[in-house]
Every structure is written in structure tokens, then in C-alpha cells.
């Protein structure tokens, strides 16, 4: 993150920039070349509400690595009929194919101090229109699906896969097709555990279901951020993208409110089993065994080729989940697209000392007349504790971000 963007994010008087664009399909079904701006048309604003969008890994309770990318619903003024269907001569789609599957993207950024330069402009959401609902209150409600909807539209059977193939090969076969790269630029897969699937002809489901299944089996994450795609391990970035300073550490706090805090029990799993086998990965830490006896997850890995590969998967999952990790959810400033799931961040929040003007135990020599006080507050993160972002919700309307992050041990 550049200093310029960081400084603007940390300003307490902010001037957001928000732009919405569409790409329509011609009568022949070909997308227009250039994006067409629709949040302001001929100098008149069109947007009533911008909506919010969320991205999350571990979205399904009890299911590790289930990536989820939410829909976006926007509301536009429609007193001019601009959002009516293609048969209306006033419509933006007049002369084009139809509204469904029109591409839509939102770019956001900040105006600098001089109110003249846009800084950090980036795509925070991109997808396709699912439907447009018009109403008598002269508005059009536009629901937009992320590009995962394109992956859900095709069945794996159309690839006619056969034989043994590695997970990377299967993922690449799905993602490196024109009907997919028309929406999501191709990036080669780099699965954490690139195991082999014995008989790929037995794989069923739509592309997205297959990708999430393969992610679980390879301890990976299928991450789609706007149109940026990666299939990589569930590991945090090497360096911190942002250092959150909460109450007590900086004159200018980054945190609006902490929504929830879990000191680590919720996601701990100390034993992994593979159905139909005697394969097991179990913690060797006796304290964890005492604390979390019974926290077991079971995987079905029938299609993974070899026993060592199956063992490798559950060993990797045990390493990820055996120790309790703090999980914190908080509301903060709007980060455009500067933070995404798997990014490393640090967070520190200081509790209040009481009584005031005191020192904590061990701060000074005994007998020097200091008064010993104590810290209060249920959530205290003393040092710059490293966390990995697992969920981010971007509220484009209110210009705030909700982040969920788990501790990096």
C-alpha cells in the first residue's frame, strides 16, 4: 500500500470517489470494447445506493477453505427509463442484446487534499447483472453476481476429463478456457498440496463446486477478488499489508468498533480422519488433547490417488488448525481493494490503565514511590499481533469496511 493511499485512508475527513461502469453485449452477443460509465450520465448522478460486497474464506461452518464471494445490489434512479429493457428506446440497452449478463464494475478511491486528484482508484467489485427490477418509485434495483456465477454455469462434464490428473492440471483446464477468460484472466494454479485425482471422469458438479472441492483436498483457497483469480495455499502474505492501531496506541485510531472477539477455541481441530481408511492426523501436544478432546473433522478423499497424498493433506490441515487462534471482527475505514483475504495485517489495542497515571507491575524499581495500577478491558492486543484476513466486507454506500481476521501463529 503506498503512503499516499494510506494517508488518505487515515484521514478523518475523507472525500470518496465512486464510479460504476457497464459493458453491454451487442446483438451478436459480443461485449463492447470499452466500459461505459453509468453512475453519472450527462452530469447527473444516477446511483441511489451503492450496496456492499463481501469476500470470505472459511465461509461454511465446519468446512475449512470454503471461499464465498457475495452478490451486490445497487439502486439507480430510473425516472428516465435508462435501466429498462432493450425494447425501450430510452434504455441504455437499446440497440444491445439484453441486460442479463451485462458486465458491471465499481471503482473506488479517494480525492487528495486538494480535491483535485483521484488517488488509489481500483476495482472493488466486478460481476454480471443477474436481474434488474424496476418499480413505481422510479428506481431500478440491479442485482449483480460475482464472476463465480460464470463458473457455476458450466458443468465439469463438458471438459470430458479422463484418467489421473493433478489438481493443478484440473484447475487450469477449467480456468484456461475462453468462455472463462472472457471474465476472469487466467492465472495458473499453485495448489498447496498438488495431489493427483485418480479418475477424473468421476468428478461431478459445476466448475465452481469442483474448484472448491479441489481446494479442500489440496489445502488451498480458490480466491476471486473482482476479476483477479488465484488458487494457492491458505497462507498469509509474507509482510503486513496494514498495521491497525486501535484505542490507546495512536492518536488516530483505525478501528471504529470491534464486533466480536474469539480467543481461539472455535476453529480448533486436533484430529483429522479420512473416511473409509485408517488414516489419521492427530496432535501430539498433550495439553491440546486435554483441552479439545473430540474436536475432529472427517474428509472424504476417495478420488485422491495415493495413500501418501491423502496423509499429506490431513497432515497439512492439522498443522493449520490444531492450535487455537484468536479471531477478531471489527469495523474500520474503507480500504478500497488494498486488503483481501489471506493478507497479513497486524492489530494492537490497548486497554485502559486504572487508576490513572499509574505504572504496571514490573515497570519500575520497588520502593521508588510508584503506584501500581492494573489494566482493564476485555480485548487487549499488546504487541503488533499478526493476523490473516479471512473475511472482508466492503460497504461502498457507507464507506466502511468490516474485517474478520485470525491470528497467525
Amino acid at each position: 500500500m503506498t503512503t499516499a493511499i494510506q494517508d488518505l485512508i487515515r484521514e478523518n475527513a475523507q472525500r470518496p470517489v465512486r464510479k460504476c461502469y457497464i459493458k453491454r453485449k451487442s446483438i451478436a452477443g459480443v461485449y463492447e470494447t470499452d466500459w461505459y460509465r453509468v453512475d453519472i450520465i450527462d452530469g447527473v448522478s444516477q446511483v441511489k445506493t451503492w450496496g456492499s460486497v463481501s469476500l470470505e474464506i472459511d465461509a461454511e461452518q465446519g468446512r475449512i477453505g470454503k471461499f464465498s464471494l457475495g452478490n451486490l445490489t445497487m439502486a439507480f434512479r430510473n425516472d428516465t427509463g435508462a435501466f429498462n429493457n432493450e425494447n425501450d428506446a430510452r434504455s441504455l440497452w437499446y440497440g444491445y442484446l439484453n441486460r442479463k449478463y451485462t458486465k458491471l464494475k465499481i471503482e473506488c478511491g479517494y480525492l487528495d487534499e486538494d480535491n483535485t486528484t483521484e488517488v488509489g482508484m481500483a476495482v472493488v467489485f466486478e460481476g454480471v447483472i443477474d436481474y434488474v427490477k424496476t418499480s413505481d418509485d422510479q428506481t431500478a434495483s440491479v442485482r449483480v453476481l460475482p464472476y463465480t456465477s460464470i463458473l457455476k454455469a458450466y458443468d465439469i462434464s463438458d471438459l470430458s476429463l479422463t484418467g489421473k490428473k493433478s489438481i493443478n492440471t484440473i484447475v487450469n483446464a477449467i480456468m484456461n478456457q475462453t468462455k472463462i477468460t472472457d471474465f476472469i484472466p487466467y492465472v495458473a494454479s499453485a495448489a498447496q498440496e498438488n495431489v493427483d485425482i485418480t479418475d477424473t471422469s468421476l468428478i461431478t458438479g459445476n466448475y465452481w463446486k469442483v474448484l472448491t472441492d479441489l481446494a479442500l483436498k489440496s489445502a488451498s483457497i480458490p480466491l476471486l477478488n473482482a476479476s483477479a483469480w488465484t488458487f494457492t495455499g491458505r497462507t498469509a502474505s509474507v509482510s503486513s499489508v496494514f498495521d491497525f492501531e486501535g484505542r490507546g496506541y495512536a492518536a488516530n485510531s483505525d478501528i471504529i468498533a470491534i464486533s466480536s472477539y474469539d480467543d481461539g477455541d472455535t476453529k480448533t481441530v486436533i484430529r483429522w480422519l479420512v473416511t473409509g481408511t485408517n488414516l489419521e492426523a492427530i496432535t501430539t501436544d498433550p495439553v491440546l488433547l486435554l483441552k479439545y478432546l473430540g474436536n475432529t473433522e472427517t474428509l472424504t478423499l476417495d478420488d485422491v490417488d495415493t495413500t501418501p497424498q491423502k496423509q499429506g493433506i490431513i497432515d497439512e490441515l492439522l498443522a493449520l488448525w490444531q492450535y487455537p487462534k484468536q479471531v477478531i471482527e471489527f469495523k474500520t475505514r474503507f480500504f478500497i481493494n488494498q486488503i483481501k483475504p489471506t493478507d497479513r495485517v497486524t492489530i494492537r489495542i490497548k486497554g485502559q490503565y486504572t487508576p490513572e497515571n499509574t505504572l504496571i507491575w514490573g515497570g519500575n524499581a520497588w520502593g521508588d514511590g510508584s503506584v501500581w495500577g492494573t489494566r482493564i478491558g476485555s480485548i487487549i492486543l499488546d504487541s503488533q499481533t499478526p493476523f490473516m484476513v479471512t473475511k472482508i466486507s466492503k460497504n461502498i454506500s457507507d464507506w466502511v469496511t468490516q474485517i474478520t481476521a485470525e491470528e497467525i501463529l
Binding site: I40, D42, G43, I256
Partner: protein, 259 residues
Amino acid sequence: MSNINFFKKNKLNSTVTPTFTSANTALMVNLYDNDTTSKLISSGSNDATPEVWQFDFAASVMIDAIHIANHNIKSGKIEYYNGANYVDFSTPIAWTANAAADNYFSFTQISTTSIKLTMNTTIVTNAQKSVGELRFLELLGTLSNNPSKFDIKFIEKTKEQVLDNGASLSVFFGENAEIKLKLDQCTQADMDILRTIKNTRASFYVYPNGGSNLTALQEGLRVRDMYFVNWTSDYTYKLPSGHLTGTIVGTDLTLKEAV
């Protein structure tokens, strides 16, 4: 004549085809985005190199006035295409030693398919030519008397958050003008203008300055200040007290910026 003018929406819009000497045609939108601070700027120009901006309309348009705001033109001109050549308006628009950043020009109504803006020199020598807003306007009407009351406020759309240390985080999305006019001396002709505006149920420009008051300094009344608005109050009028009929009536308007 009184100050206040009303105009239809800008004839300069996304349907117009631009031809510019050096300015980026993709940024023509800066001229009609109702934001005088976003400018269209030439590139590589100087006082020896005229910058010419030609605007070709998709079909003939009627124009009575031109409003040009936040510009730096010292010498230059604006002409319209009469079907054969680019010619002057009935009152020629020509700058020779201009020092004003905002201008309003009115003339006998013309119908044209093209307008050309020629910029020769800039107020600061050899600067890039720039214009913040350019409006080609068709008059809806001019009131015959000034309002007795002109109230303007700029309503902010702001989201306030409180940080966990109690500090304020203020997010400013924009501000829009709300104008309240009290008109006590409306003739029937004035009421006909207002009724026509109300019946179109469309946004329109209100120009409180009217173009003739070059010394007004208050925001809302300056030469620069033209607002694209919706008339949000009801159409109504009052006869003077004690009269059942009369030629002069009073009315109130609430206008809210529609950008």
C-alpha cells in the same frame, strides 16, 4: 429585466461529437458534468498556438445563451455554424483582453448543428487552455422582477463514524444546493413561464445571477453559479390580499440541485 433565468438542459452532452486541437476528446465530459472544478485542458498549447474545440451536434439545436465557467481564456471567440460557415452570434462572442474566469453570453436564438470555441491566449501567459464548464443553453424564460427573498443552502451528504477512541471520522460524499425563492411580483407572463417549467416535469437550469450582475460576490449569485435543479415544491400562487383577480401574484419555489 430581472436577474433570474431558466434554461433547458445543456445541449452539450454525450451525444455531441468533439474535434479538439490537442485536448483529450475522452475528457469532454468534464465540460458538462456540472462540476466547474473538473476541467478540460489542452496539451502542448501556448499563446502562439490556438486551441480550437469544435462541437458537432447529432441534430440541430436551439441556443439562446452560452455559459462558460472557470476558464482561463484571454483572447478568443465562439462561433456557430449557419449551414455554410462558422459565423458570429447576433452579439459576437469575442475575448480580446479578458481577465474574468466566468462569462455568460446571450444573443438572438439560433439553430445550429455545430459550435466552435477558439482559444488564442490565456490570462496567465502561455498556460494550457482550460475550461471547467461549458453550457449551450436554450432559454425557458426570464422573470420580469427579482425575487423578494433568495435563500440558498448547500446540503451535505456526509456519513459520520465515531472511532473507538472517540474521534470523529467524517466521510463527505458531496453537497447540493437548495434554493428557495419568494416571488411577490409575478406577472401573468411570469406565471406562464413557471407553469411551462412545471409541466415539463424535467430538470432545468436556474441562473440567479441572470448574467448581468458582474460584481456579485455571494456564492449562489455569482456569474459562475448556475444550478441544474428539480422544482420540488407544488405549483401555487397567491393573489394580493383583498383582490379576487389581479395581474400581479405571489409564489414560492423550492429548487433542489439534481446532480
